[in-house]
Symmetry: D3
Subunit: 238 residues, 6 copies
């Protein structure tokens, strides 16, 4: 039995609040149950040095956790003087996922930075971040369109992400912290609104897993992501 | 005329939301108009090395701004590898203010860390942080009392803080960003619920100021802080 | 047509040289074609702080590239003062893969560090590192057994890793640099000698990919890893 | 009774030695009793990036303590790899104070850096630094005038600073270390030669203080600063 | 009696392998007995800022030790976040030695970086690095000549280096680790193929030494360096 | 002709001022002409970790230059976040030189830190630092003897250091900055009061040098160091 009596394939309640803060070109608070991530999209003219003069844009992401977003207080990365490996890994993942969603040539020489800051953590922060950042990205692109900074819509499709895993021998979707920390297998999946895969990261935390388990988990992920895409589209329609 | 037609001595609307996040022993979102700061209090056993064996506790603070809490995006301090001088100065101020409010001997060998993270900035983030952190601190002390970790209530009084300044020749209270960035004189005042001063930091941004101006500004600060103390007590009474 | 006329499922020549350097408890130079990685295993008494007194051991990994292991010279991470995100991501992956291969309780309170340093890079450095580090790990465990530091053999199975990807529409195995840098999809797979999965990391570099493509790639990976396991066992038998 | 039998309002002996080192455009050793601070002013062409093309100059300060300027040896900040919060706070204060004294538009596109290094510390290092740096600044401006780099004298007034505080219930001026470390209230005041305030920083170290105490302390500060301005002018007249 | 029965003036076997890795413009593995250092030369257009527009080139060096090149594992400098004093000292020495060998004006506005990475350490790594780097440098200059990037050969002479020392009262040449770590006096000597001195660094590790001892050691060094120069020339002739 | 008409073997005027600052156990300002270095010795109980329990003491040194000790302002190392290679190299040299002068076993489990800070630079700062630090060290040892922290005098001999070099074809002693920056050969020599060598560091800045030149320079150094030892002893006798 999962916490709160969830069925194995059942997601936690999803909430997407747009325009959450006032200054960002896109600002989304996304909640997967008790996990809350603020995703702010910032539009800036210019591109990183390695892209200068290539006539294309860039999308990048940064990720952070507030020190007390977690059960016990974590060190503040700004104070310890560097971002940890987990942080860098997650923000690289978010960046790759969102770059896949956009035709960077149509974006023009702009950089969009997605800041994903975890206000409260209860498992699945990176997947919530990707899902929320995509909505913030769409708001930023709309903001650019209103200012005539874009000739066409560079968005190719929406992207969303979910964690799936094997916990006490059962494949489950959208793990919360108590499940995640005891999972035998843990997989994060990023998919498009067209049903294709952007990223699959599966890890055996305890025993190694079989191809069949991987396929089962992928199936669960598909269902969850379809639900997330629906929630994204509903939020963007209001 | 001030933005939104405020009178010189008039504060912005104050909102104090307790239990804003789930994990912290005290968690307060404080809003001074459009300025929103999340203040989380974390209780940990033990004290820093320089206090070991002295039979007293410690209170410290850390301050940060989300990169897009501001009009244009700031660099993330965790990514740039160090906290800037302004950040360090503010978190030292917050720590001093809250230590003044507590009898550290009665606290016992515990450390309470106040994490003040700016979600949205519109002037006065450090004064909002102090005011909100004091409420979070009280919640953390209550939490400790419930667990019998305290024999007596170590709180000596509430503390609150406000910014006052001279803008276009007029002394005003609780400056928002457009006022703050153009102020001739800028002063942050921390006071107790007993009407005494904890900290006064006045700076001539343009022309130097006279002792009379300082006294006028102090008077404005007193009024604002009385209002903040009332808001703190109302929040804690619910 | 692949470079050197390789068939899609064909691996590059694999060379595993044990006892490559003199000081390490396990020292392996592994070559996947032109990719050459030196994997040194160091045994030390004691465990990291978070494991103290739990009666188990620890396995960790560090990864680095010599500045001129690559086509154009990279900055030396020691000189720039931090390890980049890619480096941290890879060394976390290597560590997880090798921890999965060992019963840490049977290891006792020892730490084994796998240093994987790329002497020459031509694609697949992380998979070569995992495959070579596993051999170095076995040599280190044998060294411990000779010194009676182990009561039982804590190795659960061998692990090996391979990269697979889609390049010019074709699924291929063991990508070299020119293929890797132009691949549409890129997947790193870590498997056990028992045919199970430890880690799957698939990324759409260009277009998103389908579940079918993922399954095809997994099939290619299985074949390659079987070959690697054979090479590991042959090397260890000499 | 104060150490050395000083009266409450009595300053320590002030010594200002100009041209203390050979290379700097302005070089002043200032002594407040046993506190000795070397203040070097360096003139450089150009301004920081955020001021480029605005036709104005910039004044900035850096502060440091020699490791054994203090009773017990402090860590060398260059070795520990960062400047502490106190250091940054003080050098920001020195920079603000001296910028207030100069019409930056008349300075032209030059940057003057004030390096304030504490040779020996006995309380009041930041106020000695401001007072001495102002003399070094004047020497640097004179040096620029001799080279026709200035059309007019950009100095608006002299600035000087003093610490005042409440110690054993008594308001005193120019605290030395044994007084400072036991003071109930501590206030640093920066004033101009025209009798106006540049900066007031008052802190309750023990019990909170009243507005009356603040006004008393300001009065003491005024007297001390008048004496410092006289000493500056005497030094500059020789 | 020295280890392996070497005579006091006898060098360890010298091996110089050119074209050791594939990408660098010069790539040499040099072995002094069990000491193995990989020296890669990288040619890049442009010069450091302080040389821009002066019509000359630059030669610089970086040095590192693989963490398990030594008896017990050293910390990885990239992970600890800075290069230690010994590392910086050695790479400065290598850079000076090789700059002395080249007419930088004839080099044109190119920078050649010598990366010297210790694969296995057994004493004398800095001298092996200088000796090997000089061969890699010659290969890089030849590579530039083939591409017509040089009008003349900027090499003035070969340089090589050897360590000499006093161990158990006896002056010996080319110390290995067990000798080096117990030497009373330790001296590193860099010389040219024309028999002149580039650098002499002698240190009393235990008792101070006399001028006579210094002259004796210099004599030993001369003999060793002549042998090294011969080995360099033989390697370059093939 | 040398600046100020000095003869080739002639030193600049040497001044050694003991008890220069108030807090350090030994505090010496040493001047070699216009070069001024403050050398403070700090005595602390305990030794670094690698010496714990070995019953011996430790001597270490740190070196720094005030930003405007030089002709044009240097960056402050504390602000740039690390000590440069030259700084580390010099402080390692100072530490080695002073450890050679002391029987660390007789020192007992104390650490003496020599802080050498350059107030004004005009060539020869490292040699002045060593020479001055030795006097400060003697004062610190005397301070320990007065407190009965030492049973015997652990000083084996005095050490002093001088720079010699070849400038415009002439061997000269005690180079000032204009000579040093144009020298063909530059050599720093550390010697004992017993006439033995502790360290010899000779570098060809332009053309390589011969053994004969080295011997000539050593002879010059001997004369200069004898003079320095006399000055040290005279200072310590007062």
């Amino acid at each position: 039995m999962r916490p709160n009596g969830r069925a194995p394939e059942q997601m936690r309640p999803i909430t997407i609040t747009r325009h959450y803060t006032a200054h960002a070109e896109g600002s989304v608070l996304i909640e997967f149950g008790q996990t809350k991530v603020l995703c702010n999209a910032s539009v800036n003219e210019g591109v990183p040095r390695f892209l200068k003069g290539k006539g294309q844009g860039w999308i990048t992401a940064e990720y952070g956790m507030l020190p007390r977003s977690t059960h016990s207080r974590m060190n503040r990365e700004a104070a310890s003087g560097k971002q940890g490996g987990r942080t860098l890994e997650i923000q690289r993942l978010i960046g790759r996922a969102l770059r896949a969603a956009v035709d960077l040539t149509q974006l023009g020489e702009y950089t969009i930075t997605l800041d994903c800051d975890v206000i409260q953590a209860d498992g699945g922060t990176r997947t919530a971040a990707i899902t929320g950042a995509c909505v913030a990205l769409v708001d930023a692109l709309r903001w650019m369109q209103e200012r005539k900074q874009l000739k066409t819509d560079p968005l190719k499709f929406m992207v969303a992400a979910i964690s799936v895993g094997v916990h006490e021998g059962q494949a489950i979707c959208d793990l919360e912290y108590v499940e995640d920390s005891a999972a035998e297998t843990d997989m994060n999946v990023v998919m498009t609104s067209t049903g294709k895969l952007i990223e699959v990261q599966g890890t055996a935390e305890g025993e190694p897993f079989s191809e069949e388990e991987l396929v089962t988990l992928l199936g669960l992920a598909k269902g969850g992501i379809a639900e997330l895409i629906t929630a994204q589209q509903a939020a963007l329609a209001t």
